[in-house]
Structure formats: structure tokens, C-alpha cells
């Protein structure tokens, strides 16, 4: 069973036992796919050229989430209430998909949510595995996402936090004061996506040379690469070749 509206032909078997019910409308429509074989000009004679499919991420889940995710959400609600923040103010949506829980947190609350997740005895997410970014140019107003993966060794749980910010105002508060390990991760996310983490001690480029223009892992940054010369032909770089999706 799947509440997702994507209609890809691949086996629809991601529903394990205990997959929660979802809301009717899909959240996070990230784009639209047209045609079937990757051609966008007159070359497609298959008849599928007029196909239009929306790409929508798994819809937010409603309670009960199933398993230990409910305990996590309850503990988080209680802890945030103790701080004076309502759960729904801080957390935009909860998605439980494929055995993993993703909390989409509003950027002004990410620091308090991280602090609560780290310090509350029922939560105790001591380890921040990493901060990474993702770029969804199709989602206007929420193009840049920062993803935080947390691990609780005491409770043997994982959770993912997702924070979205617009391209026009790419600022997210830094969590270095709660998880010092985020230092290099946030530098890398700035380097590759252009997300500025406010409050970071030294937000500079870490992987690319210091004077590199642009943010390479954004979708509007080309892969680069040169055509490869073979005996008798040249092959174009991968991002200018034909894609089937």
C-alpha cells in the first residue's frame, strides 16, 4: 500500500508492516516529469511523449506512527512544552517512511529542538552523525534543505531532522554549540550548497579551494567535465548526455 502519488512502474513494495496512515494530499511536490524516455524533442515516437507525472515525496504521517516513533514524538512534545514551544510550532511535519522518522523543523527552532533532543533523558540523541544538504529547485520558497541525522546510543534510535530555507534567504542557525561535530559538516554544506549557518565559528570553504566561485552540488551548477576524445569520435560529458529519467 502506498499513499504516494508517484506512479513509477517499479515494484510498489515499500510498505512494511506498520506503515502509518497518511494524509490525503501529498506534501513536497518537487517537480514534474514529462515524457518517458528522456527525449524532449520530436524524437519520441513511443506515444508516451505526453505523459506528465508529478514527483512527490512521501506525505506527512499522522498519529499513531507505529513502534517507537510515537514514544519519540511524545517525549519531544513534552520536552518542547517544558520550554514553552508547542510541538507544531517547531515541527512542520513528521514523515515516517521505510522505517525512518523525519521531522521537518522550522529553522528558527532547530537549535532548541537539537538541544532538547540531546539533553532529555528519554531522547538522549548524543551523536550527530552529519549535516548535509539537498537542493530542490522545483520547491519554490524552500529550495535548500539541511538534513541532520541523529543517533541515540543509549536508546538505540535514529531520527532525521530536515530544515528548509529559501534560496533568497539561505540562513539556518548553526547547531555547533549543541553538537560541536557539526563544525565541518556545516562548512561542507555551505561549500556545496550555499546555506549560511548563522552562529558558526568559522564558516569557510572546506573542500573546494578557498576562492572557488559557486556552490558545486546545487542542481543549477553544471557537473563540469570535458568531452572525451576517442579514436574517431568524441563523447560528451555525462550531464549533457541523454538521460532516461
Amino acid at each position: 500500500m502506498s499513499e504516494r502519488t508517484n506512479d513509477e512502474t517499479s515494484p510498489d513494495r515499500a510498505g512494511a508492516a506498520g506503515v502509518p496512515a497518511t494524509t490525503a494530499a501529498p506534501a513536497q511536490v518537487v517537480g514534474v516529469r514529462q515524457g518517458m524516455f528522456g527525449t524532449h524533442d520530436a524524437g519520441d515516437t513511443s506515444g508516451y511523449g505526453g505523459l506528465v507525472r508529478t514527483i512527490a515525496f512521501p506525505a506527512p504521517s499522522v498519529r499513531p506512527f507505529g513502534g517507537e516513533f510515537d514514544e519519540l514524538a511524545d517525549a519531544l512534545t513534552v520536552a518542547l512544552d517544558a520550554e514553552g514551544t508547542a510541538f507544531d510550532t517547531a515541527v512542520e511535519s513528521v514523515v515516517v517512511d521505510r522505517g525512518e522518522m523525519t521531522l521537518t523543523v522550522r529553522r528558527e527552532h532547530i537549535l532548541s529542538v537539537c538541544r532538547v533532543l540531546r539533553d532529555e533523558p528519554d531522547l538522549r540523541f548524543e551523536l550527530l552523525s552529519g549535516v548535509s544538504g539537498a537542493h530542490y529547485p522545483g520547491e519554490t520558497g524552500r529550495e535548500l534543505h539541511a538534513l541532520y541525522h541523529l543517533l541515540s546510543i543509549t536508546n538505540n534510535r535514529r531520527v532525521r531532522l530536515e530544515v528548509a530555507c529559501p534560496d533568497a534567504d539561505p540562513h539556518i542557525p548553526s547547531v555547533v554549540e549543541v553538537y560541536p561535530t557539526a563544525d565541518w559538516h556545516e562548512r561542507e554544506t555551505w561549500d556545496f550548497f550555499g546555506i549560511q549557518f548563522d552562529g558558526h565559528p568559522a564558516l569557510t570553504r572546506i573542500q573546494m579551494p578557498d576562492d572557488w566561485p559557486g556552490h558545486p552540488q546545487r542542481k543549477d551548477y553544471p557537473l563540469g567535465g570535458i568531452p572525451v576524445e576517442y579514436k574517431g569520435a568524441t563523447i560528451a560529458p555525462p550531464d549533457t548526455r541523454r538521460a532516461y529519467s
Binding site: P209, Y221, P222, G224, I226, K231, G232
Partner: protein
């Protein structure tokens, strides 16, 4: 050495070439320039099973000023390129460069913004060794081919003549992408 610059082309120069080539190839010291996966295979080639010491090359000099051969082992990123050039410049003549692996030879599988598509964009390469990573035996084969190349290098006026001949040949040669009809 200086002597080869002064000799005219002839038997004496050929003898100097032979002797100089023999000694140069017999004790070619590599500079450590291991970058990525190929570096591990290079270390293995210096290890006990595929011993590079039997070719006079066990001493991997840390300082480029004491090294003759720079084995560029691994992918060269845009950030590393100036460092590579600096190390090459710090080496003293005569020096040779071996591009080990496909990433050093041509950019390899990484045809993108971050990797220099072949170190011959930065330093002159004497021998290219494909492989991802090349086996230690392949590296030894490349080194021995380079040894042969060094042993027969023309010097002095012969070298100038050889360089001019090579350039003239390259100017009239067919470009790679125009070499058609080879499959027949």
C-alpha cells in the same frame, strides 16, 4: 652534466648517452606523491611481494629535491594542482613523471568540475599507466618501460634534433578524433 652539451653528434656523444642513461635508470628515486587508491598500490609495489628495491627504487624520497621520478598516483583535484606543480618545480633536472592510473592520465572516471583531466595539463608526462588502480605488476612494467626510455634518451644536440622531429611529426599527425576506419 655539461659534457653532453659540448659534444657534436657522433660516437662520443652516443657513448655518453649510453653511460648516462644506464646510471640514471639504475637508481631512479621516486618522490612520494601518492594521492588516492593508486598510492596504496604504489606502496604495495614497494612492499615485500612486488619489490621495487630490486630496480633501485626502494627509497621513496620525501623531499622532491632529492627525487628523480614523480609517480603521480591518484586523482589530482583542482585544489591539489598548484601543489603538484610546485613539487614538480622543486625537483631537480633530470626528472621524469609517471602518470599512474587513469585519473592521473586523463581524469579517469571522474569527468567533472573537481578533477584535473589528466596531469599532463600541469606537468609534462613521460609515461602513462592506465588502470583503476593498476596492478603492481603493471606499475613495474611501466617503470621498466620508462627505464628503457631513460637508457636510450638522446642528449645534447641529438636531443634537440629528436624534439624537433617529434614536434614536426605531431603537427602533421591525424588528431585522435579524426582517426576513422580503424575497426576494419
Amino acid at each position: 652534466m655539461g659534457i653532453e652539451e659540448k659534444l657534436p653528434s657522433g660516437l662520443l656523444l652516443t657513448s655518453v648517452e649510453t653511460i648516462a642513461g644506464y646510471f640514471r635508470k639504475g637508481s631512479l628515486w621516486p618522490a612520494t606523491f601518492g594521492l588516492a587508491c593508486c598510492a596504496i598500490e604504489m606502496m604495495t609495489t614497494g612492499g615485500p611481494k612486488y619489490d621495487l628495491a630490486r630496480f633501485g627504487m626502494e627509497v621513496f624520497r620525501a623531499s622532491p629535491r632529492q627525487a628523480d621520478l614523480m609517480i603521480v598516483a591518484g586523482r589530482v583535484s583542482q585544489k591539489m594542482a598548484p601543489v603538484l606543480r610546485q613539487i614538480y618545480d622543486q625537483m631537480v633536472e633530470p626528472k621524469w613523471v609517471l602518470a599512474m592510473g587513469v585519473c592521473a592520465s586523463s581524469g579517469g572516471m571522474f569527468n567533472n568540475y573537481a578533477i584535473v583531466q589528466g596531469v599532463d595539463h600541469i606537468v609534462p608526462v613521460d609515461i602513462y599507466l592506465p588502470g583503476c588502480p593498476p596492478r603492481p605488476e603493471m606499475l613495474i612494467n611501466a617503470i621498466l618501460t620508462l627505464h628503457d626510455q631513460i637508457a636510450t634518451t638522446p642528449l645534447g644536440v641529438n636531443r634537440v634534433a629528436a624534439a624537433q622531429a617529434a614536434e614536426a611529426a605531431a603537427l602533421v599527425a591525424t588528431p585522435t578524433s579524426q582517426m576513422k576506419g580503424l575497426l576494419r
